[in-house]
């Protein structure tokens, strides 16, 4: 079998440069990497020792477990534990050629048998998560030889290569394999060390790592505290890399020992209507349009992300292969038009003062900005700002009208579309869309093996979202990652992953600390 090099799935994202953020790679010194030291990182947490059971955003476990594929910093899928992969012309058969010489942390070798054991485990023993849904679409897992794995799907399934970037391959010798893994044995550059949930996780280096000479660091220590302000610890030198809020950027940018960069994928912000059981008059398209005309996207994004905010009507930003320029340029709501909004309301026979809008959001200040914009039409707004769980439950009751939310980076665009599908996971942020025609359009895109044709198919589905006003995209922003100047060889990736095939902690090293005066 001839394995083809992986196709580029997404073009490099434009826009990161020129937004006032230095590229880490440019700022780093061209020196021989130094060995030793502990890199201290604070981005997201670690909720489970069983990598197959994660349900949310992940940034830690990549340090000790790896997958067949990986998402590169530009969003393309690249080989990882599989050195090459091939998809059949009909999009149903995915073949992977495993890398030679890869060993688990217990010294055992990685072969196709271990990979298939992992696929089977996710398919049959794990209860939740989109990986389970994807694996249940598999007809068979085959191992023609010790280095080849074939996944045969029941139907063409284009997201698979990207989704496999988060199906981590573990040794079946990992304690708890038959139930919940308590001590994962992976192939990553670091091993599973001391984990104290919501406190810290220490991962010592793996001396038998398959990438020659790597990792350079002796260990990585993750700060797992929720909602902590990491900016002071960064400035004090107690952390090397951390995600920071935009309110801390002014102080951090004045510190010569700190560099600022961005995650390559975005958070997208949107106002969703209640699509599962819309209440009058928000079941009227004209009223939805009026609400959209009341929103000042630029002002909203200025508030949320300052000058780095990206205004568009799509779920990706310019530069992404799925971005549709014509659709973007045709955005009727790129600027607010309150007069048009009022005219639409009159046409629909709606007197705003007589209808109170129930608006649900998290306890985030940006939601209040959107609420104020809607209020200008004359609607009284009952803004219910809740914590994660409260919002989840309230949204699930579908007794509201508008929802202002955001959603973060994903390994594949499909993971954004699937949330709007009739049987999609956790659909509440997008108002629980129930639209068989939209489902069919997304499924058509999923079944399309050709990249260019798939982009067109996805955009057909997105056009339906725009036409039906299921949700109104306000814009995008990128999470800010700060690192100290002594960190070399590391740059924020496309997703939150701390380690991927062409970047991350395996390649990072620590230069001597610069004794520059502190700001």
């Amino acid at each position: 079998m001839t394995m083809l090099p992986p196709l580029g799935r997404r073009a490099a994202l434009a826009g990161a440069a020129g937004l006032g953020f230095a590229s880490f790679a440019q700022a780093q010194q061209a020196e021989t990497p130094r060995r030793g030291g502990t890199l201290r990182i604070a981005t997201l947490g670690l909720d489970t020792a069983d990598p197959h059971r994660h349900t949310g955003s992940i940034a830690v476990q990549q340090a000790y477990v790896e997958a067949l594929t990986s998402i590169a910093a530009n969003g393309t899928v690249e080989p990882f534990l599989a050195e090459a992969f091939e998809v059949s012309a009909d999009g149903r058969v995915h073949s992977f050629r495993l890398r030679e010489g890869v060993r688990f942390h217990d010294g055992s070798a990685l072969t196709s048998a271990e990979v298939i054991a992992n696929l089977e485990r996710v398919k049959n023993r794990v209860r939740g998560g989109w990986l389970v849904s994807a694996m249940r679409l598999a007809e068979s897992f085959e191992a023609p030889d010790a280095r080849t794995v074939v996944i045969r799907m029941r139907e063409p399934y284009a997201p698979l290569l990207n989704l496999l970037s988060e199906l981590w391959i573990l040794s079946p010798n990992s304690p708890g394999w038959d139930d919940t893994i308590t001590r994962p044995i992976g192939t990553g550059p670091f091993t599973f060390g001391d984990w104290r949930p919501k406190a810290r996780f220490v991962a010592p280096a793996f001396s038998g790592y398959w990438q020659p000479g790597r990792p350079y660091l002796a260990a990585v220590e993750f700060d797992l505290r929720d909602d902590a302000d990491f900016s002071l610890a960064l400035r004090a030198g107690d952390l090397h890399v951390a995600s920071v809020g935009r309110d801390k950027l002014a102080a951090l940018s004045r510190d010569p020992a700190i560099r600022l960069g961005k995650l390559k994928d975005t958070n997208w912000f949107f106002v969703s209507f209640n699509n599962r059981s819309p209440r009058a008059p928000f079941d009227d398209l004209r009223v939805r349009q009026a609400i959209a005309y009341s929103l000042d996207k630029r002002a909203f994004m200025n508030f949320t992300a300052g000058q780095d905010g990206i205004v568009t009507n799509q779920m990706v930003i310019p530069g992404n292969v799925h971005f549709d320029r014509a659709m973007h340029d045709a955005d009727a709501h790129v600027r607010p038009d309150p007069d048009r909004a009022r005219a639409l309301l009159r046409e629909a026979g709606v007197t705003p003062a007589q209808r109170r809008i129930e608006l649900v959001s998290w306890q985030e200040s940006y939601a209040q900005v959107a609420a104020q914009m809607v209020t200008r039409l004359g609607f009284p707004v009952n803004h219910v700002a809740l914590d994660d769980l409260g919002a989840q439950r309230r949204l699930g009751q579908y007794d509201w009208d508008l929802a202002v939310f955001s959603s973060g980076p994903r390994a594949d665009l499909f993971l954004r579309y699937v949330r709007m599908m009739s049987d999609g996971p956790n659909p509440v942020l997008w108002g629980g869309v129930q639209d068989p025609e939209f489902d069919a359009l997304v499924n058509a895109a999923v079944r399309e093996p050709d990249q260019a044709r798939r982009a067109v198919a996805y955009n057909r589905a997105w056009q339906r979202v725009l036409d039906r006003y299921y949700t109104v995209v306000l814009g995008h922003s990128q999470n800010v990652i700060a690192n100290r100047s002594e960190v070399q060889g590391w740059d924020p990736g496309f997703t939150w992953a701390c380690h991927w095939a062409s970047g991350g902690v395996a390649q990072a090293w620590l230069a001597p600390r610069n004794p520059a005066p502190r700001g």
């Binding site: 069983d50 308590t182 104290r196 919501k198 439950r393 996971p425 956790n426 502190r518």
Partner: protein, 303 residues
């Protein structure tokens, strides 16, 4: 017989209190909307069917009574179960968090007690010095100045500008801040008690004998004020066990307070329940020990 009942009553009362707290906490926790599956679903990718399956597997569908009986039966055997969110034994998570809280709490309490005693006795021995004013100032400080404000200022000054201390994981600064706060709570009532005790006949006699004011303070006044100090200290120390949360978060010392808060946010009922029970046991034990000490030091309750 009566004396035996007198000595046995406090531990029995403590045990009954812990049981009552366990039961009340269990049902209060279950009254909070949402469960751990909701938390996992809110993170991203669970379908409704997957959520139902997980609830069934975790036993979250059983009635609260059944859940309490199951939990109680296991707890009596010392099994507090696993964290629903992290899959780790709750005892292990608690023991991981306890040292940070104990170190911070005890160090802060020692600083606070030492400072309060020094200031109160000093102010008594030198009433015309600035010390009585300092007693008032420390007391007002503890009431008016939030510890997290001083914590942030402390990090800016000592960790960032001067670079003397690490910003996270260091005990000295948070213990000092919390210690001053504790001193403020203790020093005023202690000073007032000592001043009242000055009018006692045995103190007047000591003064007439020409004893040094410090000696009078230490050996004649302080024993008189000891019951008040003991009672106050037990309340403060019990508060410190669960009350170090803001400083734990600020200084990266994840202790029992952070553990309980995270368990609450994550609807991790076994972890939260065990943390409450352990904390309640700690508080009850401290109070029981204080009561026993009181009985040892002061013969009046024994009569």
């Amino acid at each position: 017989m009566t004396r035996a009942i007198g000595w046995a009553a406090p531990p029995l009362r403590a045990l009954a209190l812990i049981l009552a707290i366990s039961m009340i906490a269990f049902f209060c926790i279950r009254a909070v909307p949402g469960d751990v599956v909701d938390v996992l679903a809110a993170q991203g990718d669970l379908t409704a069917a997957q959520q139902a399956e997980m609830r069934q597997a975790m036993g979250l569908n059983a009635s609260p009574i059944v859940q309490f009986l199951t939990w109680g039966g296991r707890a009596l055997h010392g099994e507090f179960g696993n964290s629903l969110r992290f899959g780790k034994p709750v005892g292990e998570l608690f023991l991981n968090a306890l040292p940070a809280t104990l170190h911070l709490g005890l160090l802060a309490f020692a600083i606070g007690l030492g400072l309060a005693l020094t200031l109160a006795l000093g102010a008594l021995a030198a009433p015309r010095s600035p010390l009585p004013l300092l007693v008032q100032a420390v007391n007002i400080w503890s009431i008016a100045v939030p510890t997290f404000c001083i914590g942030i200022a402390g990090i800016l000054i000592f960790s960032i500008w001067l670079g003397w201390l690490p910003a996270i994981g260091h005990l000295g600064l948070p213990a000092a801040i919390l210690g001053i706060d504790i001193a403020g709570q203790l020093v005023k009532p202690l000073h007032d008690e000592l001043r009242q005790a000055q009018a006692a006949p045995h103190v007047r006699t000591a003064r007439a004998k020409g004893l040094h004011p410090l000696r009078i303070g230490l050996f004649h006044l302080l024993p008189t004020a000891m019951p008040v100090l003991l009672a106050l200290s037990s309340v403060v120390l019990a508060g410190v066990l669960g009350g170090t949360l803001t400083l734990e978060v600020l200084f990266g010392l994840p202790g029992v307070g952070s553990l309980a808060l995270n368990a609450m946010h994550g609807r991790d009922w076994p972890l939260l329940q065990a943390t409450i029970v352990f904390l309640a046991a700690g508080v009850v034990l401290i109070n029981a020990a204080a009561e026993l000490l009181h009985r040892l030091l002061d013969p009046r309750p024994r009569r």
